[in-house]
């Protein structure tokens, strides 16, 4: 059972890492809008397609 003396600190370090990751995500605004993405997911035509197409559009505009 002495392994506990090793496992416990490791657990603490791991949870500390998770806590830091969570606080980064929160401060980064990942959880700001929890309503709209849920509506977006229902679209057949996903919105990244749209963004990709508009990105292509802007690129071609810039080239032309």
């Amino acid at each position: 059972m002495t392994i506990l003396f090793l496992i416990l600190p490791i657990t603490l370090v791991l949870s500390g890492g998770a806590a830091i990751a969570f606080s980064w995500a929160t401060r980064n605004g990942q959880f700001d809008d929890l309503e709209t993405p849920a509506l977006r997911a229902l679209d057949d035509e996903s919105s990244h397609e749209q963004r990709a197409s508009s990105a292509i559009q802007t690129r071609s505009d810039r080239n032309g």
């Binding site: 059972m1 506990l4 003396f5 416990l8 657990t11 603490l12 949870s15 998770a18 806590a19 969570f22 606080s23 929160t26 401060r27 605004g29 959880f31 700001d32 809008d33 929890l34 309503e35 709209t36 509506l39 977006r40 229902l42 679209d43 035509e45 919105s47 749209q50 963004r51 508009s54 990105a55 559009q57 802007t58 505009d61 810039r62």
Partner: protein
């Protein structure tokens, strides 16, 4: 003299299969075109439909849920030139480099996922747009566009053409602060949750160790490990409670945070002392769980508050941002802020007046219903005053400016809304009121326990006291109310009632007086043709003459009568009427004052006119070839469910009052028609008088619920205990209201009051239940049977029952009225 009033009513309701191709609402018979595949209820819908089809966005209609369909907002067709001003760009736009700019726009009228889908595809309508992302919570669209390809006004016009009128998203500092607060509380919830989980695992080991035997070194390790996690949780994530508790002490107001702080601190100090001395019990798991659950309650409470109020900003947006300044022979479009008193401005037909002033040339009718609630347009001529925010209906006028901006009547109204909202005292929540007594009871029982055990077993006196304080920490209480409230809010939203905060549910559940606006609230808020006496042939003539009229009476005729194919020539709008030549016949329609001077009015006609006028209807005399052919009457009809709803409210024990900006006679007629014992039915109240009335009622100790729909009610609504905006109200009114309904009619208002009462009953039950659990805890602690294990079981158990109860309680339900 056939009276065809009934005939007309039937016409509007029959053939329900003709639904508007855009919004799905029934198409008025007059607008029905059987030869076409598409039907529209209004020009706005038809315009939006053609925009959607020409930009390949027809899929919008498939995404729309039939239940979500509602009157779609029509394009305002404004120019939005004010968005191109350099000062605006400086304030609101961000330059992203490479020719890209971004801006946040607040959108009116977004209500479902199909709307979101549509506005996020803005680039199809406005090619200069690179990206559009919508934030449903704030109703704000974040737009990135190429400034070199199109000005912002073009982007705004594109949004407007879809029916979503954009406004500058406004004070971004406030939104940023709100967001920071949201993130902070979420961070606390997440971190304390993780901590609670980990400490619970260690507590699990400790409890099984206590039964199965565990060597002291392991016990001490788990205790120290728990201490390591609990300390930052209690003082980091849980610091909000200590701050709140201190504030409650300082201001001497009861607050939930006080008993919470006492419990947590006592438990923490006791546990740390026992860890250091390796004796007694530790409560680290309970402390972390407590902090977590209470923070969840706090988080829920925070999210109750929907969109931050932007009433004043929206109100300001009612006055157009541009004005046409007259300089000698030419007119020039300038920002409204550049106009000063003494200038001359010109206002075209169907335009909103940007300033307060006096008419110097032209005569017209002004639709002031938005500002004052008067259902009939006011005739104005040289020398009359006009106010900013009202609409010029009939003919172009020129106005000598008297006051602008904050000094205008609209500006002063904005100021009144702002100041009443600021002055409003916060509602004392039920949970906080309970907390006051709670603290006293806990401290008293803690002292008793300590003294009691001091005599019997002095060594454990402190342990038992700590146990009591931990177990009585009002965890269930702190969760019960926010949860019951948030579940009630969710249920309310499902039946079309949106509360802006949980406290309004508690307010609405108490007895009080409902004060109703008339126009648009008790009535439909628009003129409709209610009677036609005389020559039926003249209807087709009148319909074709009014084809393009934007006067409310013209609109009523367009809605009520079938489109005619008679050729109409030379329509002239007169003060109080119009004249036209329709298929070789001379038509003249207008008020009795307008026609009486030139036409002999027969006796039957003048009797009818007098009768209509006495009953609050607007009579219109129709003259064909110099002879009076018919009398038409127009009125703002009472909503179908008004009577039954008001009756129900009265049965629930509420007092009723009508406070209207319309003519006292009209209000009197309405009150007679409804036949209900109103405490008072008062007409002719300007927005300022409404505000004054609500203030004086509140000063006399009345609890006031103001129900309205217009800008003229906004100030009064923000002064009332609860302001309720009915469906179809002005956006400003929604922003000033505490509660708004998303379904037409007044039944939802009854449902709101009824649901609020049920919710409060559910809240009270939850509070009683959590107090009962505490009583059990106190009994166990005093008798010395409370171990940390019992506390660890009792606390979640009480929370779970309270949560289940809150989620299952039936509050707002359809059909329960």
């Amino acid at each position: 003299m056939a009276n065809v009033a009934y005939d007309l009513d039937l016409g509007a309701e029959s053939a329900p299969n003709a639904a508007c191709s855009h919004c799905g609402l029934p198409v008025p018979s007059a607008r029905r075109d059987p030869d076409r595949a598409t039907q529209f209820c209004c020009d706005g819908c038809s315009a939006v439909y053609s925009v959607l089809n020409s930009s390949g966005l027809e899929a919008y209609y498939q995404k729309q849920n039939a239940a979500e369909r509602r009157a779609a907002p029509a394009p305002s067709r404004l120019g939005f030139e004010e968005l191109d001003q350099p000062s605006f760009a400086e304030q609101h736009c961000r330059n992203l480099g490479r020719g890209l700019s971004s801006v946040d726009l607040y959108l009116e009228g977004i209500h479902c996922s199909a709307c979101v889908w549509l506005v996020e595809r803005l680039s199809r309508v406005a090619p200069a747009v690179v990206e559009a992302r919508f934030d449903m919570t704030r109703s704000v669209l974040h737009v990135t566009w190429e400034l070199s390809r199109a000005p912002l006004s073009a982007v705004a016009r594109a949004l407007d053409s879809l029916g979503y009128r954009p406004h500058p998203a406004g004070a971004s500092t406030m939104a940023a602060e709100q967001r920071r607060g949201d993130r902070a509380i979420l961070l606390r919830v997440g971190l304390s949750g993780a901590a609670a989980g980990n400490v619970m695992l260690m507590a699990w080991a400790l409890y099984s160790g206590a039964f199965g035997g565990m060597t002291a070194e392991y016990v001490s390790m788990f205790r120290w490990g728990s201490l390591l996690i609990t300390t930052p949780t209690v003082f980091g994530a849980g610091s909000v409670f200590f701050r709140g508790g201190l504030a409650a002490l300082r201001t001497r107001t009861p607050h939930m945070d006080l008993p919470v702080s006492i419990g947590i601190l006592a438990g923490y100090i006791g546990s740390v002392a026992n860890t250091l001395t390796a004796t007694g019990d530790v409560y680290f798991d309970s402390l972390c769980t407590l902090t977590f659950l209470l923070l969840v309650g706090r988080y829920l409470q925070r999210t109750h508050h929907r969109r931050s109020t932007r009433a004043s900003e929206l109100l300001n947006a009612l006055a157009p941002a541009t004005a046409r300044l007259v300089e000698g022979e030419v007119t020039r479009l300038v920002p409204a802020s550049d106009v000063s008193p003494g200038c001359l401005v010109e206002i075209g037909i169907d335009e909103r007046i940007p300033v307060d002033g006096r008419v110097v040339t032209g005569s017209s009718a002004i639709d002031a219903s938005l500002l004052t609630g008067e259902s009939q347009p006011q005739e104005v001529t040289v020398g009359d005053r006009v106010h900013s925010g009202t609409v010029n209906c009939v003919a172009p006028i020129r106005v000598r400016v008297e006051s602008v901006g904050a000094d205008s009547r609209l500006g002063r109204l904005v100021h009144a809304v702002e100041s009443t909202q600021r002055e409003r005292a916060p509602v004392v929540r039920l949970a906080d009121r309970v907390a006051g007594y709670f603290v006293l009871v806990i401290l008293a029982t803690a002292a008793l326990t300590f003294l009691f055990w001091l005599r019997i077993d002095a060594r454990h006196a402190l342990d038992h006291t700590v146990a009591l304080l931990v177990v009585t920490c009002p965890c269930a209480l702190g969760m019960a109310t926010p949860l019951a409230v948030s579940s009630a809010l969710r249920r309310a939203a499902q039946v079309g009632i949106l509360f802006k905060g949980g406290e309004f549910i508690e307010e609405l559940a108490r007895p009080g007086r409902f004060v109703f606006d008339k126009t648009g609230t008790l009535t439909e808020g628009r003129l409709d043709l209610v009677a036609w006496d005389g020559d039926l042939e003249a209807r087709a003539l009148l319909r074709s003459a009014e084809e393009h009229s934007s006067h409310p009476i013209g609109r009523a005729i367009q809605r009520a009568l079938p489109k005619s194919d008679l050729v109409c020539r030379t329509v002239r709008e007169l003060p109080g009427g119009l004249s036209a030549e329709v298929s070789e016949r001379q038509l003249w329609a207008g008020s009795i004052a307008c026609v009486a001077a030139d036409v002999q009015v027969p006796r039957w006609a003048s009797v009818l006119v007098a009768e209509h006028a006495a009953n609050g209807r607007t009579p219109v005399v129709v003259v064909v070839d110099g002879r009076v052919a018919a009398i038409a009457a127009f009125a703002d009809v009472i909503r179908a469910d008004a009577r039954s709803s008001l009756e129900r409210l009265r049965a629930l024990g509420f007092e009723l009052e009508v406070l209207s900006g319309d003519h006292p006679q009209v209000v009197q007629n309405l009150s007679n028609q409804l036949g209900l014992p109103f405490v008072r039915a008062c007409g002719g109240a300007s927005p300022e008088m409404k505000l004054e009335r609500i203030r004086s009622l509140r000063a006399s100790g009345q609890r006031i619920f103001m129900v309205g729909d217009g800008v003229n009610d906004a100030a009064a609504m923000s002064a009332a205990n609860v302001g309720i905006a009915v469906h179809g109200g002005a956006e400003v009114c929604l922003a000033a209201a505490d509660v708004f309904t998303t379904r037409p009619g007044l039944t939802t208002v009854v449902l709101a009051a009824l649901g609020a009462r049920r919710s409060v009953r559910a809240i009270r039950f939850g509070v009683a239940l959590s107090l009962a659990y505490n009583l059990v805890g106190i009994a166990l602690a005093i008798s010395g049977h409370l171990s940390p294990l019992v506390a660890a079981i009792l606390m979640p158990l009480s929370s779970i029952t309270v949560v289940t109860l809150a989620l299952r309680s039936k509050t707002f339900e359809e059909g329960c009225t």
